[in-house]
């Protein structure tokens, strides 16, 4: 997005909207959330619409998520999170300050960093394999699955890079609709006429998909209505899963060494996919700092990690799988996401690589009660 001139009509309108939004955030902090009401939700909702209509979509997106969180608080929704609210309040305020400064000083670099949209390509064909899947669940709101893919063609420009494909399903119950278990969505046909579960069992060809380059090492694949998804052959260990999953330690070191944090980062922005070929694990314990998660010590090749497992429904399948692995005499290689937090290497275990391919640890059984569901739908 082009830098807006402060003295243009668009610039003046944006400056007013940014000031009003900053002031509303500061007021909320001063008085606390107990003073928030439907009026507060409407006020932030208007800020989101107005700022988005001026083309400042990244801040707009933050404000949309902030408005949703305030709404959850006002409605006393169990899905409300003080940590999430605090995060989006801070980011929205900071972006308001940064955008104002960029406009006033006509600072192109600052403006672009605050309106960052990654470059996007369209690929004819891309053959991939899924190495792991993470699951994010916000009760009655959404279930999200993030597939960690590897390109099979080792000569491809994306070979060895982190490639992510996400699916998000709404869990909002409407009227008499029965609750569908999140894993059931993997068996629902998608607009491009494919079933997501095939991504777990087969190598896949994506055609006419879009690739956005989020960082030098990470890209995201998205589908358009014209994209096609074709299941190729069943995944087996002979596909060289370990070779595909094994990280380059020099790249991981270089990423850590060269990291320059920005106030707009997330902790997980500095992230690597790693393979622990021989690993030991400790007992599961509650995280003393965060009541919503368990911690498990993991050690591999002389390096200490902690694995985090949500203590909510989202983490049930992973906790069961890790508990079973702890009791197991031998453990297959563990594929995990690693990020750095509070001076530690933090793991999100995703899969173990077995003879028949990856076993996805975060995915549980589909416990949807289809009989009741069908009765309710009639």
């Amino acid at each position: 997005m082009q830098l807006i001139r402060a003295d243009s009509s668009q610039g003046k309108a944006l400056a007013i909207a940014l000031t009003q939004t900053s002031t509303a955030i500061e007021r909320l902090l001063k008085t606390g959330m107990s003073t928030s009401s439907d009026h507060t939700v409407a006020q932030f909702g208007e800020s989101f619409s107005h700022i988005s209509s001026l083309g400042v979509t990244r801040l707009g997106s933050n404000l949309r998520l902030l408005t949703q969180e305030i709404q959850r608080y006002v409605k006393q929704d169990d899905a409300f999170s003080a940590r999430r609210l605090s995060f989006f309040l801070n980011r929205s305020w900071l972006m308001c300050q940064g955008l104002q400064e960029a406009m006033q000083q006509q600072n192109e670099a600052l403006w672009q960093s605050l309106n960052l949209t990654p470059s996007t390509d369209t690929l004819d064909d891309l053959e991939v394999i899924t190495l792991g899947v993470s699951k994010k669940l916000i009760a009655n709101v959404f279930a999200a699955f993030e597939f960690r893919l590897r390109v099979l063609d080792q000569q491809h420009a994306l070979a060895g890079k982190t490639l992510i494909f996400s699916l998000v399903f709404s869990l909002a119950s409407k009227g008499k609709e029965a609750t569908v278990h999140p894993e059931a969505f993997l068996d629902f046909s998608q607009p491009q006429n494919y079933y997501p579960r095939f991504l777990l069992s087969h190598s896949i060809r994506f055609s006419h998909a879009k690739i956005s380059h989020e960082t030098e090492h990470r890209a995201r694949l998205t589908l358009t209505p014209d994209s096609t998804v074709t299941a190729l052959h069943p995944i087996a260990h002979q596909d060289g899963l370990s070779t595909l999953a094994r990280e380059n330690p020099e790249t991981v070191r270089a990423q850590l060494k060269n990291y320059c944090p920005s106030p707009f980062d997330l902790e997980i922005d500095l992230q690597s996919e790693i393979l622990l070929e021989a690993w030991e694990m400790g007992d599961t314990r509650h995280d003393p700092a965060f009541e919503d998660r368990y911690v498990i010590d993991i050690r591999s090749a002389g390096t200490d990690y902690i694995a985090l497992v949500s203590s909510y429904t989202e983490g049930e399948a992973l906790l069961l799988a890790l508990t079973a692995l702890k009791k197991s005499a031998s453990r297959p290689p563990l594929f995990a996401l690693m990020h750095y937090e509070l001076g530690q290497r933090v793991l999100q275990p995703l899969s173990v690589l077995e003879e028949n391919g990856p076993r996805h640890l975060m995915l549980g059984q589909d416990k949807t009660d289809y009989k009741t569901l069908l009765k309710k739908l009639r």
């Binding site: 500061e26 007021r27 606390g32 309040l89 801070n90 305020w93 902790e267 390096t303 937090e341 001076g343």
Partner: protein
């Protein structure tokens, strides 16, 4: 290099401060009590001793703003940002030091 006791103290203080700021958002900044102000001051001393001067300054600004009942919200938002950036740099430093230690144990002698 930072010793393990100080490292743990820094981590505990970061966790406490983040949690305090989340709680203050719910309660409102006027609800800060004397014990919380004392802990802000203790954190300021700890981070000053670690040469984290910007973070220590943000802690001081928040304490003063709460006492004077002026611009506390802005001081709070600045402190939140400073905490995040400090945590990122602290974590980077600690994890890089781990790599050097591990390489020294293995005799690689990589200069990081």
């Amino acid at each position: 290099m930072i010793d393990s006791d100080t490292r743990q103290e820094v981590v505990n203080t970061l966790v406490y401060l983040k949690s305090l700021l989340d709680r203050l958002l719910l309660r409102g900044l006027s609800s800060v009590d004397e014990s919380e102000l004392q802990l802000l001051e203790q954190a300021q001393i700890l981070f000053s001793s670690q040469d984290a001067t910007y973070l220590a300054d943000c802690l001081k600004q928040l304490s003063e703003a709460i006492h004077q009942q002026s611009d506390a919200a802005i001081a709070c938002l600045k402190l939140q940002t400073a905490l995040f950036l400090f945590e990122r740099l602290f974590t980077q430093q600690v994890c890089l030091a781990d790599i050097v230690e591990s390489d020294e144990e293995q005799g690689l002698g990589v200069d990081i």
